[in-house]
């Protein structure tokens, strides 16, 4: 046989026991041709175009799952930032959110991302209206996700937007207080947002992208952990090598699925996002990889170094496996979605400050963490400003997805259920940044030389 039994059994073991899966197939759809000065007409165009392109998206995903025997956890859609459509149309942008929800319900996709605005340099028509409408839009829909880009390495950080987003996140949480504050879990505030990200809640379809494309996000923290577990006496460079080999295999699977989906749907293949995306399931944790490398608990000194090694090795392995790499590509460290991270917070080894340091060396940022419900909006804004500054200075994507747990205090648990898991309410530093945030204005773009 050309294929060796060992290879076959290895693949099956990865899928069965180590939670290897395709995390998402996301179809990006441009809505630029749906712009209309009449909001109802614009919504009708959005509905028609999305239904035309995405009606077979879920079925195609299921067919691929069956054919290759690989679970595909999410089938999603991402669209052009809705602020661009809201700019032309008069009326409440919430109508667009309701249209996206209707498309999600009828196509059967898990989420639609793109209730978004890009305001890193300033607000243009439609941006403020859209941002102000986010709390309402996320409370009247269940499958719509929102993101706002407030900074970039080339533009600096829009501090007016940062101040606004602190308030918006708090309002979104309050508006969904009876539903585990889930509104806040569907908003991401970015610095250096990418245009082809297949992962939620931050997916949107950038204006530089083609009319329609398929982006794939892979996953596999369990596979990496178990590969490292087999080498107890190995040196760090041997571990890096093993992570690269494992990431290669995982990414090849993503490449295959993406190519196949694009062929079946007649839509160009965009990118594979080389990510280690954890889930709350046992054995699917990025924190457990760090612990397998040799830390007693995630958050201990050494965590940032181990994560830097992991993140870099995943990219190196993945880049060779796919001809088109993009999206966020790196290890995700969402607190509530990772069993190991939750344990680390509960046992007191992982604090917010260490989490922030970790985001400087890995993909994305402060993700899915819960703070007390009485956290003032300006503290949320200041957390966003700090995280955006890390992204801006290091020329990388960073993001904040914070959930103020209304009515809850430090040490309690906020349970979302499903893939979103549950998050311990983390203690925060309560010294006030109010004056800094209230100044407004813009942090100028950083120097690209004299790097020290």
């Amino acid at each position: 046989m050309v294929l060796s039994s060992n290879d076959i059994l290895e693949t099956i073991k990865m899928i069965q026991e180590e939670n290897l899966d395709i995390r998402t197939i996301t179809m990006g759809i441009s809505l630029l041709d749906c712009i209309d000065s009449d909001i109802d007409k614009s919504c009708a165009k959005v509905y028609d175009k999305m239904m035309r392109l995405a009606c077979n998206h879920v079925k195609t995903g299921e067919d691929i799952e069956k054919r290759y025997g690989i679970p595909i956890i999410n089938k999603r859609l991402s669209v052009t930032p809705i602020a661009m459509l809201a700019a032309a149309a008069k009326g409440s942008p919430v109508k667009f959110a309701q249209t996206l929800q209707k498309v999600a319900d009828e196509t059967g996709v898990n989420y639609v991302g793109g209730y978004s605005a890009l305001v890193h340099k300033g607000f243009s028509a439609g941006d403020k209206e859209l941002i102000e409408s986010i709390p309402e839009a996320l409370s009247v829909t269940t499958k719509v996700c929102s993101s706002v880009n407030v900074g970039s390495t080339r533009a600096g950080i829009n501090m007016n937007a940062v101040a606004l987003m602190g308030r918006i996140i708090k309002q979104a949480s309050e508006a969904t207080a009876s539903d585990h504050c889930f509104g806040a879990a569907k908003i991401v505030v970015f610095c250096n947002a990418v245009e082809d990200n297949p992962f939620m809640a931050g997916a949107f379809h950038g204006v530089g992208e083609p009319d329609c494309e398929i982006n794939v996000g892979v996953s596999g923290p369990g596979v990496v952990r178990s590969a490292i577990a087999k080498m107890p006496g190995a040196t760090i460079d041997e571990i890096a090598d093993t992570i690269k080999k494992t990431a290669f295999k995982v990414t090849r699977m993503g490449q295959l699925v993406g190519t196949e989906a694009s062929k079946m749907l007649g839509v160009p293949f965009g990118i594979v996002d080389l990510s280690l995306a954890p889930t709350p399931a046992v054995g699917d944790s990025v924190a457990h990889i760090l612990e397998e490398i040799g830390l007693e608990s995630c958050g201990a000194y050494g965590t940032t170094a181990a994560l830097a090694l992991l993140n870099d090795a995943v990219k190196k392995g993945g880049v060779m496996a796919s001809s088109r790499v993009g999206g966020l590509s790196g290890a995700f460290i969402p607190v509530s979605e990772d069993a190991g991270m939750i344990d680390a917070v509960n046992r007191g080894s992982l604090c917010l400050e260490k989490l922030e340091a970790m985001t400087a060396v890995c993909s994305v940022g402060l993700d899915m963490f819960v703070v007390p419900g009485d956290t003032p909006a300006e503290i949320l804004s200041a957390i966003i400003a700090d995280e955006a500054a890390i992204g801006m200075v290091n020329s990388k994507t960073t993001a904040v997805r914070v959930i103020p747990a209304i009515g809850m205090k430090e040490g309690e648990m906020l349970d979302f259920g499903g893939l979103f898991g549950s998050g311990p309410v983390m203690p925060i530093n309560r010294f006030s940044p109010a004056k800094f945030i209230s100044r407004g204005g813009h942090i100028p773009a950083p120097l690209q030389s004299l790097k020290n």
Binding site: M1, L3, S4, D7, L9, T11, I12, R67, G69, I70
Partner: protein, 89 residues
Amino acid sequence: MRAVVAVIGKDTVGILAKVSAICAEANANIMDVTQTIMQDLFAMTMLIDISKCGSEYSALADKLVRAGEEMGLQIHVMHEDIFNAMHRI
């Protein structure tokens, strides 16, 4: 087009007979079989030609998985491309 049938579980009489009978019904030609017994665990991998199965491929996959459950075995049916992609450069 070829698919891999992997059978893992406790060794019993008639596993190969049953799996190959189901393949024959669906017009899938068996091209290669390897089997090993590791401790008590039976592991068989079979390469089948599914180009003549057409749309019945998914029914064949379901049938094999069900037959596996009846015999207390895990049976996986996967298109060979996935293994080529993951294990070949």
